[in-house]
């Protein structure tokens, strides 16, 4: 694991974070459920909690789907290539490329060479908005690449060690030998 330069993190007094979706995207409940699940992957191992709010401008974390140049200096490049990006604390911005074919359910056994599992990418980008950089550990969520048709949503030991350096453990779950280590969900076709 690694951190952003200066090791930015959300302050200790701000462990209950809110998130909201770009109103112009008008995302379905299915898509929002994917993000709720992605956030739970991180709250399982930290004291952080994540609550959706309808107040986009007041939310700590702002999630949106955009295309091309969308004003943050990091233009998206269409199908595949860069899928998403996020900004270190306390920016809280999580952007995804609207040009991708996003799968909100079962991406396994994909017949499409470009179908991307939304939750897998969401879990990775949430790691960034919490303060983690990229990892060279291939099984880690924070490894920079993910092939199409692959679902990789459970935190690796490397991810958990990194996030717990920043925020400590979940007082209700401080084990490192829990089910997520015994039966990690990484599957799919490349």
């Amino acid at each position: 694991y690694s951190f952003f330069p200066g090791r930015p993190r959300w302050p200790a007094r701000q462990s209950d974070l809110t998130y909201a979706f770009e109103p112009r995207n008008q995302l379905s409940d299915d898509v929002k459920r994917v993000f709720a699940s992605a956030f739970s992957r991180w709250s399982e191992w930290t004291p952080l909690t994540f609550t959706e709010t309808s107040n986009y401008f007041a939310a700590d974390l702002k999630i949106g789907f955009y295309s091309g140049d969308h004003g943050d200096g990091e233009a998206f490049d269409g199908v595949l290539g860069t899928l998403a990006h996020a900004f270190a604390p306390p920016a809280g911005l999580l952007h995804l490329d609207i040009a991708e074919t996003w799968i909100t359910g079962n991406v396994i056994a994909s017949g499409s060479p470009s179908a991307m599992d939304l939750e897998s990418v969401a879990v990775h980008e949430i790691g960034h908005v919490l303060g983690l950089g990229h990892s060279s550990v291939e099984d880690a969520i924070m490894f920079p690449t993910i092939p199409s048709g692959v679902r990789k949503v459970e935190l690796d030991r490397d991810d958990i060690e990194g996030i717990q350096v920043l925020y400590g453990t979940n007082p209700d779950n401080n084990s490192t030998t829990g089910p997520s280590f015994g039966g990690r969900e990484i599957s799919g076709v490349t």
Binding site: I98, I103, T104, S136, T145
Partner: protein, 127 residues
């Protein structure tokens, strides 16, 4: 473009989604230092974007020069590949994979194989 599963994607939609943004890098497989190959400049832009080349002018040639060789080696180390400095098949296939847009290296210091110490990273960049 949200779908609950792959079978729900309209067939007419699929043919238009197979060309990835970096497919042109496929033809660079086998390139090595000292060569001049059309398309190398685009690859240099890729490495610049992800922090492996720090040229600030943004003007790149198609020469496989020392800067690119160094970038390729660093990339290979970060992705657990043999650090040959050449664009071998496994390196190109890794480059072609879809990925996060956050840079791997900031200000010339790796944020991937940094020994897990943020003290090695000298400057703050918001991205």
């Amino acid at each position: 473009n949200f779908f609950p599963n792959v079978s729900s994607i309209p067939p007419s939609f699929l043919p238009n989604t197979t060309a990835g943004a970096w497919d042109s890098f496929n033809k660079l497989s086998g390139c090595r230092p000292g060569q001049n190959v059309t398309g190398i400049s685009k690859l240099k832009n890729y490495f610049h974007y992800f922090g492996y080349i720090t040229n600030t002018t943004g003007n790149f040639t198609d020469d496989f020069d020392d800067d690119l060789e160094s970038a390729v080696k660093n990339y290979q180390r970060n992705f657990n590949l043999n650090a040959t400095g050449e664009l071998d098949e496994s390196t190109v296939q890794q480059i072609l994979k879809p990925r996060c847009g956050v840079a791997d290296i900031v200000n010339g210091t790796s944020t991937m194989n940094s020994g897990k110490s943020s003290s090695m990273i000298k400057h703050t960049v918001a991205h």
